[in-house]
Amino acid sequence: MRYLPKSDDERRQMLAEIGARSIDDLFAIIPAEYRLGRDLNVPRQQAESEIIAYFRAAGQKNATDYASFLGAGAYRHYRPVIIDSLVQRGEFLTSYTPYQAEITQGTLQAIFEFQTMIAELTGMDVANASMYDGSTGAAEAVLMAMRVTGRQKAVVAATVHPEYREVLHTYLRYREMPTALVGYHNETGRVDLEALAAAVSSETAAILVQSPNFFGVIEDIPAIAEIAHAKGALLIVSIAEAVSLGIVRPPVEADIVSMEAQSFGVALSYGGPFCGVIAAREQFVRQMPGRLAGQTVDGAGNRGFVLTLATREQHIRREKATSNICTNQALVALMATIFLAVYGKEGMRELAEHNLAKADYAAKTLSALSGTKLRFKGAPRFHEFVLQTDEAPAAWSRRLLDNKIVGGIELSRWYPELRNCTLWCATEVMPRETIDAAAKVLAAAPVEA
């Protein structure tokens, strides 16, 4: 076996030195009736070339030559080449959690830089080293708000990603923490502020909203913060599209921000691994879940970094920890860190501008067709929009697929009231020709007899 660095002779010698007659001696403690007396029924050992051929064939079955207007929490952006060059360095790839700070300063300094950049982008004081993804991050943020406030209820906007809300529901399932769902305004697609104000009480731990929200609409964060803070509740803002922060005002009025950083140079990879992160005001840091890197000095006064405030964590606090999270998304956070270094201060704005411009063009082009209409025009958007069509999406999406285009995703799957509405996304990598081509196909609805 090519990964195993021993000859059979060496194995025999080692067994002899241990004083074992055969390898079976070392497994003798396992009761005989449970030992597997046969080969595992898995595919036979494959050559490297066979493995590559197998996965290439699988990749080709996925039809790589389709253009796509899909977004909804997973976004296709250009990934600078140096991201993969750097994260594939064995020193990053094959090290683990930096508990031994003296020989993991590379990872620790990179985490510290990640935390700094996330705090800068979100307008928060501090950020952690990462969470699994945006959905679990949002759920953990709600639990964090519960610890901070000592209150047991949460109010959630219906415009938060539906799968994030499902995850939150799972996390709260056995916590006796009731959540109230607040609908959206029909013209703006924003959370209904009046209903929100009515739902929040002095027992509310937090309001959870997403901005840009699931419809691509930017929420009125200052107004929502006012509603939350008037009742002593915290405001949690979930951000599923991190690139928006290049041009969209950060939610500085929030108390906790939970962000999905996949857009920062992370491949779509059919939904994972992505990179969640929680940022917050400084006074809440001791209630944060997950790892934190902090700056300190060594014996000679040199600057160095360590994992810190570990008394929040499971390996110290066990059942009293802020979360059970241990392994996080470190290497993916490193990808995001490199991505942000590449685009930098100016690039993040320019990148966000391109996204907004592409989506604006796509929205105008597609909604100019007869039988289509742009929904939620009353509020600013980033790079997603909701298109309502007279023709059923199932019909036109098949025409688009015939033209190698994957159109917007149907919203009735999560919002039954939004019949014939689809959510479209256009990022900086969407060519104008594809938008024009999609419009042409969409316009070609068969004439009804």
């Binding site: 990964y3 004083g19 390898i23 070392l26 449970y34 030992r35 029924n41 595919p43 036979r44 494959q46 197998y54 996965f55 064939a57 699988a58 079955k61 996925n62 389709y66 899909l70 997973a74 140096i82 750097l86 020193e91 790839l93 094959t94 090290s95 003296e102 020989i103 300063q105 590379g106 990872t107 705090a119 800068e120 699994y132 799972t170 930017i218 041009i247 491949a267 779509l268 990879s269 939904g271 691994p273 902090g294 700056q295 060594d298 000679a300 160095g304 360590v306 810190t308 499971q314 009293k320 979360s323 996080n328 290497l331 270094a341 930098g344 201060k345 690039g347 501008e353 994957v406 995703i409």
Partner: protein, 563 residues
């Protein structure tokens, strides 16, 4: 940028092994933070010309327009490459040498895994693409699921959890949902005192109280004590097997019987599965539900702390409660309308389309004899069409968005394919052989608190060295000077001053001998020159860092100096 040119002071300290002398005069050893190297106007990106009309961004966004850009660094590409390359040289890694971090299974991360995870049709697949355009990925999910079920001996599986602790959460949710379906969720989870901290933390998240079980003199579960503690309020026992001492619970079937007699379930933390693969299956010894760590047992990279992946496998009776969505295969010719319209034409016939014929070859030994007593699992698609099933009324719900850490599934499957049944078994045997070799070579110098046979890891205590004031943490730091990553320090908690050593199968005899030599040398140093050990490491870029100061006045982000 401020640069400390007086970088050689660490070398001035006495006593480092003579081979460790390094000249440190280059700024690679003093790489500043990115923010400190930034200068306005430098850039590492270039966007293509915008091919659509520009927009008046500020009026378009109104009050939502960001007036002040985030203070991100401004750097050129070469500076970014050097920055992260320099940082990387400050890390220890499996690629550099033995990384015997107990419980973490720091094995070789095959490079073909990285290659195949980046194949365009896999890496670029959007999670909401129509299922008809995702059949290749779904076939990967399906084959990995079947392999993991075979390896664990369980009946059903979800790949959704993002890491081991997330898998525990999912497994205990299944446990609770099942108990509720029986009319009583029960109130407590039993956790041995040797368990990982994630176990009690998980039980608490799912609303259970945690009751500790004291280990017996062998470090295992005390059956009589267990029988006393298990009652009608016990939902499950969370058991790591082999335990964190590296000891196989040889009375595991009795443990399962005691639990099952009271209607409680046996949850297995699969962190130590590297000791079992191909030799024994948890599903065969009474486990009801368990998680795997693909980043431990199945070689996906640890990446400085993640990402991981924590699939959960269970017995048939727990299947209805699995998180949604669940992968199902519709037979060839079945009608579907989940995407846009009728997808009958996308059904794959049950043939090996797209797969090289070699994959269908039987498993033969060199002498032509067929291996094993059953047909090898086919690699080619089974036919029909895979799809996500959402209509699962008993499901505990989602535990994350989308379907799981797909990139890790690709890597784990590549590892399983590279090994095959014989390689997986040999891997387990080598892992156990290595741990026992280390035990044999060190047990005369280091205290072995539990004499029970070791599986894939061995746990010593620092009792003898502590007599000279040298603790496990000191020995660990001194190992760094000898070119090794330390073992796991002070865990499991039931061993005072624990040294938890897991070499994995990836170490050659030469590397093991070097490690043994280092440990023996440190044992000598602990007696003859304890100060040398207590002040280690002496060879690193930074010496021991002040963790107390870091926690007392946390500095968690860089801020520009006030002008």
């Amino acid at each position: 940028m401020t640069m400390n040119l007086d970088t050689n002071k660490a070398e001035a300290k006495p006593g480092g092994p003579h081979t460790l002398g390094k000249v440190r005069t280059h700024p690679t050893q003093n790489e500043a933070l990115m923010f400190e190297k930034s200068a306005p106007g430098k850039r590492a990106y270039k966007l293509p010309p915008l091919d659509v009309p520009a927009v008046d961004f500020s009026s378009c966004l109104g009050k939502a327009y960001r007036q002040t850009p985030a203070q991100l660094p401004e750097l050129s590409e070469i500076e970014i490459i050097r920055h992260f390359t320099r940082l990387s040289t400050w890390n220890y890694a499996i690629d550099l040498g033995m990384y015997p971090l107990g419980s973490c299974t720091m094995k070789y991360n095959p490079r073909v895994n990285e290659f195949v995870a980046r194949i365009e049709g896999l890496a670029e697949a959007h999670p909401y693409r129509p299922e008809s355009l995702a059949q290749g990925i779904l076939e990967i999910y399906d084959l990995l699921q079947r392999c993991l079920l075979e390896i664990t001996g369980m009946d059903a599986i979800t790949l959704q959890p993002a890491a081991g602790a997330h898998g525990e959460f999912t497994g205990i949710l299944l446990t609770r949902a099942w108990h509720e379906s029986q009319g009583n969720p029960r109130t407590k989870i039993l956790v041995p005192d040797s368990a990982h901290g994630t176990n009690p933390a998980t039980a608490a998240i799912v609303g259970y109280t945690v009751e500790n079980i004291k280990s017996n003199a062998d470090g295992g579960i005390d059956l009589e004590g267990l029988a006393r503690q298990v009652d009608e309020n016990t939902a499950a026992l969370m058991l790591t097997n082999p335990s964190t001492l590296g000891v196989f619970e040889d009375e595991i079937h009795k443990i399962a019987d005691i639990l099952h007699a009271k209607g409680a379930l046996l949850y297995m933390d699969g962190a130590n599965m590297n000791a079992l693969v191909g030799k024994v299956r948890p599903g065969d010894f009474g486990v009801d539900v368990m998680h795997l760590n693909l980043h431990k047992t199945f070689s996906t990279p640890h990446g400085g702390g993640g990402p991981g992946s924590g699939p959960v496998a269970c017995k048939k009776f727990l299947e209805p409660f699995l998180p949604i969505p669940v992968l199902v295969r519709d037979e060839y010719g079945a009608k579907h309308c989940t995407d846009a319209g009728d997808w009958e034409d996308t059904n794959a016939e049950p043939t090996a389309d797209g797969c090289p014929p070699l994959f269908r070859a039987p498993v033969l030994k060199p002498d032509g004899e067929r291996v094993g007593d059953s047909e090898p699992m086919p690699l080619h698609p089974l036919g029909g069409r895979l799809r996500w099933e959402y209509n699962r009324p008993h499901s505990v719900g989602r535990v994350r968005a989308f379907y799981g850490n797909t990139g890790m599934f690709i890597r784990a499957l590549a590892y399983i394919l590279a090994n095959g049944p014989d390689g997986l078994r040999q891997t387990t045997e080598d892992a156990v052989l290595n741990a026992n070799y280390i035990r044999k070579k060190l047990e005369d110098l280091y205290e072995l608190p539990y004499k029970t046979p070791s599986m894939h890891e061995v746990v010593f205590s620092d009792r003898r060295q502590a007599a000279h004031g040298v603790k496990t943490g000191d020995i660990a730091k001194r190992l760094i000077d000898y070119g090794f990553h330390p073992y796991t320090v002070s865990f499991p908690l039931i061993v005072h001053g624990a040294l938890m050593i897991e070499p994995t199968e990836s170490e050659s005899r030469e590397e093991l001998d070097l490690f043994v030599e280092a440990m023996r040398s440190i044992a000598r140093e602990a007696e003859e020159n304890p100060e040398l050990v207590k002040t280690a490491p002496h060879s690193t870029r930074v010496s021991r860092l002040d963790e107390v100061q870091a926690a007392r006045k946390p500095i968690l982000r860089w801020k520009p100096e006030k002008q």
